[in-house]
Structure formats: structure tokens, C-alpha cells
């Protein structure tokens, strides 16, 4: 049967409480979990950046990094060391404190959201009763970091870029919230572990909710891409036309934090899509094929979760390297004139489907 991570966490708790008082054990566990989050954060950033460079290269009929290490595998480590040793330049007459604080706000927001992902059966770090709502709330802190970054750079282009990104992220949060609401109408719970358990028992939400779920999935992918400033919505990347965006004046590791959080936000967006629509760590089950389902259960949940997430990441990268960049007014028109009305109608359709029991 499927491996349950609770075995490990309970064994660890028992081992720690046998040598130290309860509060010290909880403190130690919290520190261990924090270290695990930070390590996973860094590891997935490296994996995603390598993946992005290779996939981008293949879409453009190139090979990508090939010189450093076999297939360029060590290229990323070289890049990381370069980034770490670069000088952090501070602007004249800018607000030093806010300038240094802003990247951390963005990273904290994405780490809090990262902590909500369900990795395996029993392996979730933050599993509140209001899980999905908390996740949306935590991800909304990042906008403050972006706005402060633009303002504290003491540069008009950065300020305008921050306004653009802020308006874009706030607008697309609406679509994300509405698609989440649509799926919550189907699942009837906001707790992330329960959502996945339910999909393990009754099938993936994208199949259970059929038409409205597929529409919600597509809208979520578009809005999620816009939310992490990627894909055809990557205005801060357009340095030749718009003098980049809110992070123009950042250098060294402070720029690195933005870079890091962009890739991790991509992973988080894909991870949430996996959790809500594609069954999280739930293995692929086909009704009637019990032998096949039994074999699938032997593959651990973390493999399923990471595999599906990387598949969604691949879809998002495919979108990014295929479509041309949109202008800011086109971005906002796409959200307010198309995605929001469609998702509102979709919410009503899903409410009908859930109320009359038209789902599987």
C-alpha cells in the first residue's frame, strides 16, 4: 500500500521526547522542518533553472548549456557561485532599509506558500483547516515586496515597473481565487490533506468535475503564469523595451532572491495545480483495473507529486517559450474582460454540477 510519512514523523517525535522536554522537542522539530523547507527550496530552484534553460534551448532548436560538466549539469552551480560573489550595489539617495527588505518579503511569501504543498501521504508542513485560503493569503504578501522594491530603487523606470507588476498580480489574484472557489465547491473542504485524500478515494478532481474543472484548470494555468510574472506576462524581463521592471536596480544576491522566488513561484503554481486538479500525491487509478491500481500504489506519493508538478511546470514553460509577450493593457484586458467573466460563469456551472450531483 501507499507509504505513509506519519510513521517517520511520529518516530522522530518519540525519539526526541525521550531525550528532552516536550517544548524543546517541538522547537527542534520546527528547526528541522525549516531547514528541510530551505533545502528543498534551493534544490528545486536549481532543478527548475536547469530545466528552463534546456527546455528553452530545445524550443529554439539549440542545445543549451553543454560545456560545464556533462550536458551542462554543473552550469547552474557555476551560476550560483557567480551570483553569490557579486557585489551588492546600493543606490544613492534611496531608502537603504526598504531596498534591502523588499526581496526578503517576496521570498518569505513564496516560502510560506511553498510550506503548504502536500508532498506525500502524511508529509505536509502546514495543514490548516483553512489550507487553501491560507495559501492564497500568504502569496498575497509578495505584492508589497514588489511595490517597495520599485519605490526604494529611486528610479522612475523601476517605480513604473513595480506599478505594472503590482497591478498585474493583484488582478490575476482574482482569477486564482475564483478558480479555487470553483474547485472548493466540488471538494467541499479547504484542508489540503483532505482534498488529496478525497481525490485518492474518488478520483482526480479534473476527472470528477469534468467540464467546469477543465475550464478552471486552464484559467488557473493562465492566471498562475501571470501571477509569477512569467510566460507571455513577463514584463519585468523586457529590459530593452521597458528598462526591465521593479528589479532593475538590484544586483548580486538581492537580484538572486527575485530570480529564486520567480522559479519557486512557478513550482508552487504547478504544485497547487497538481494538488487541486491532478490529485496531489494520489497515484493514477483507472476504475476496473485493480491489478494496475495495485502496481501504481507501490510508487511512493512523493514521486507522483513531484512528477505531476514537473509535468505542469513543463506545460507552463511550453506556454512561455511559445507565445509573444503581451502589453500591459492587453494583460489587464485579458484578465478583466475575459478570464473573470468566464470564471464567474464557470463558478455557477460548478455550483450546479455540485448541487445536482452531476460529477463522478
Amino acid at each position: 500500500m501507499l507509504f505513509d510519512f506519519n510513521v517517520i514523523s511520529q518516530w522522530l517525535h518519540g525519539a526526541l521526547t525521550s531525550v528532552m522536554p516536550e517544548w524543546a522537542a517541538i522547537l527542534t522539530e520546527s528547526i528541522l522542518v525549516a531547514l528541510a523547507i530551505i533545502t528543498l527550496y534551493a534544490v528545486f530552484a536549481i532543478i527548475l533553472i536547469y530545466m528552463e534553460r534546456k527546455i528553452c534551448a530545445f524550443f529554439q532548436c539549440r542545445l543549451g548549456p553543454m560545456r560545464v560538466g556533462k550536458w551542462g549539469l554543473l552550469q547552474l552551480f557555476a551560476d550560483v557561485f557567480k551570483m553569490l560573489t557579486k557585489e551588492i550595489i546600493s543606490m544613492r539617495q534611496s531608502d537603504r532599509f526598504l531596498h534591502n527588505l523588499a526581496p526578503f518579503l517576496v521570498v518569505i511569501a513564496s516560502m510560506l506558500t511553498f510550506a503548504c504543498l502536500p508532498w506525500n501521504k502524511g508529509a505536509h508542513i502546514l495543514d490548516f483547516n483553512v489550507g487553501v485560503f491560507f495559501m492564497l493569503a500568504a502569496s498575497s504578501i509578495g505584492v508589497v515586496g514588489i511595490l517597495l522594491a520599485g519605490w526604494s530603487s529611486n528610479n522612475k523606470y523601476s517605480l513604473i515597473g513595480a506599478m505594472r507588476s503590482g497591478a498585474q498580480i493583484i488582478s490575476y489574484e482574482l482569477s486564482i481565487g475564483l478558480t479555487m472557489l470553483t474547485m472548493m465547491a466540488l471538494t467541499g473542504t479547504l484542508q489540503i490533506s483532505e482534498i488529496v485524500e478525497q481525490q485518492y478515494a474518488e478520483g482526480w478532481n479534473i476527472v470528477r468535475g469534468h467540464v467546469p474543472a477543465v475550464i478552471a484548470f486552464l484559467i488557473y494555468l493562465i492566471a498562475g503564469n501571470a501571477e509569477c510574472n512569467r510566460g507571455p506576462f513577463d514584463l519585468p524581463e523586457s529590459e530593452s523595451e521597458l528598462t526591465a521592471g521593479y528589479h532593475t536596480e538590484y544586483s548580486g544576491m538581492h537580484f538572486g532572491f527575485y530570480y529564486l522566488s520567480e522559479y519557486l513561484n512557478l513550482f508552487i503554481t504547478a504544485g497547487i495545480a497538481t494538488t487541486i486538479f491532478l490529485g496531489g500525491w494520489a497515484p493514477l487509478h483507472i476504475i476496473g483495473l485493480d491489478g494496475f491500481n495495485g502496481v501504481m500504489d507501490y510508487i511512493p506519493g512523493i514521486v507522483w507529486f513531484v512528477g505531476k508538478t514537473l509535468f505542469v511546470v513543463f506545460l507552463l514553460m511550453w506556454i512561455r517559450w511559445t507565445f509573444p509577450r503581451l502589453r500591459i493593457d492587453q494583460i489587464l484586458a485579458l484578465e478583466w474582460k475575459y478570464l473573470v467573466p468566464i470564471s464567474l460563469v464557470n463558478l455557477v456551472v460548478m455550483a450546479i454540477v455540485a448541487a445536482y450531483g452531476f460529477h463522478f
Partner: protein
């Protein structure tokens, strides 16, 4: 001493320091940033007590909504570089009076309140699930909030219509 008490002290010191900085700083945008820290610390207190819904709402509405709105309006108006410097004697007097009255009220409430030492010992999510919040929100019974909920919706609708009216092209 347990881990909840330690976390409470950390959060309390964080909130107190940030609120002092909010008032004492000269730059208006820094004040907004410190206010963000105060609001996040308050959300932390809610999480410590097990009120995860309240904590999430605090982060969503205040940190992700109100502070962003503040920062946006500071950036859009020319107020970003405004420094509070025109302190007339009359202004200082009234401000001092107001803060004295506020301080006295808070002090009286604090001293009159009988604090229980053991309240913080067992934070559980148990009682207040989002399910029960939703049911109370839409119930017209004894503890229902249907009327205020609908009244607030009408108010928000009025705000949206008013905003459209102001922003429309003539």
C-alpha cells in the same frame, strides 16, 4: 515555560517594537511597512491561539489588501517623499491629548481585565472550522450573521458602483 509562551513573547516584542517604529519613523512609506509587520505579528498571535481562519483573514485583508492599498496610494500621490515636519503647537497639543486619553483607556481596560494564566496552553483548531464559520455567516438563527453579511455586501456593491461612476469616461 513551554514553546507557546516563548513564541508569544517573541511575537509580543516584535509587535510592540514595530508599532513604536510605525509612529516614530519620519518617512510615510516606512510607516506603512512597519504597519505591515504589526499586522503580520497580530496574525501570528491568532495562529498561536489556533484561530487559523482569523489569522488567514488578517493576512489576506490587512497585509495583502489594506497595506498594498496604502502603498499604492502613497506611490500614486506625490506623498512618497513627504516628511512630517509642519508641527504647530496646536497640532502637538491635540495629538498629545488624544494619545493620553487613548493610553489611559487602554491602561484601565488592561488593569480591569482578569487575565487567565492557562489560556494559552492548548491551541487547537478543533472548534472553529471554516465549515462552522460559513454556517454561522449564512444562518438567520440566534448566532447567525446573515443580516450584517448582506448589509456589508450592499455596502461593497455601492462602493464599486461609486468607483465606476467616478472613473468612467465622459
Amino acid at each position: 515555560m513551554n514553546s507557546h509562551n516563548i513564541m508569544f513573547i517573541v511575537l509580543a516584542v516584535f509587535i510592540a517594537l514595530s508599532s513604536f517604529m510605525t509612529v516614530l519613523t519620519k518617512s510615510i512609506i516606512r510607516a506603512a511597512t512597519y504597519l505591515l509587520f504589526v499586522l503580520l505579528g497580530t496574525a501570528g498571535l491568532y495562529f498561536l491561539m489556533g484561530y487559523t481562519f482569523l489569522g488567514s483573514v488578517q493576512v489576506m485583508v490587512y497585509a495583502g489588501g489594506i497595506v498594498v492599498l496604502y502603498v499604492f496610494s502613497i506611490l500614486l500621490t506625490s506623498g512618497a517623499k513627504d516628511v512630517v515636519n509642519n508641527r504647530t503647537k496646536k497640532k502637538v497639543f491635540f495629538a498629545a491629548l488624544l494619545s493620553l486619553v487613548g493610553f489611559a483607556t487602554v491602561l484601565v481596560v488592561l488593569l480591569k481585565h482578569g487575565f487567565k494564566a492557562a489560556v494559552l496552553s492548548a491551541p487547537e483548531e478543533g472548534g472553529i472550522t471554516i465549515d462552522s464559520v460559513g454556517r454561522f455567516m449564512l444562518s438567520s438563527g440566534q448566532n447567525g450573521y446573515l443580516l450584517p453579511f448582506e448589509a456589508v455586501s450592499v455596502l461593497l456593491l455601492a462602493c464599486i458602483v461609486a468607483g465606476l461612476l467616478i472613473a468612467r469616461k465622459r
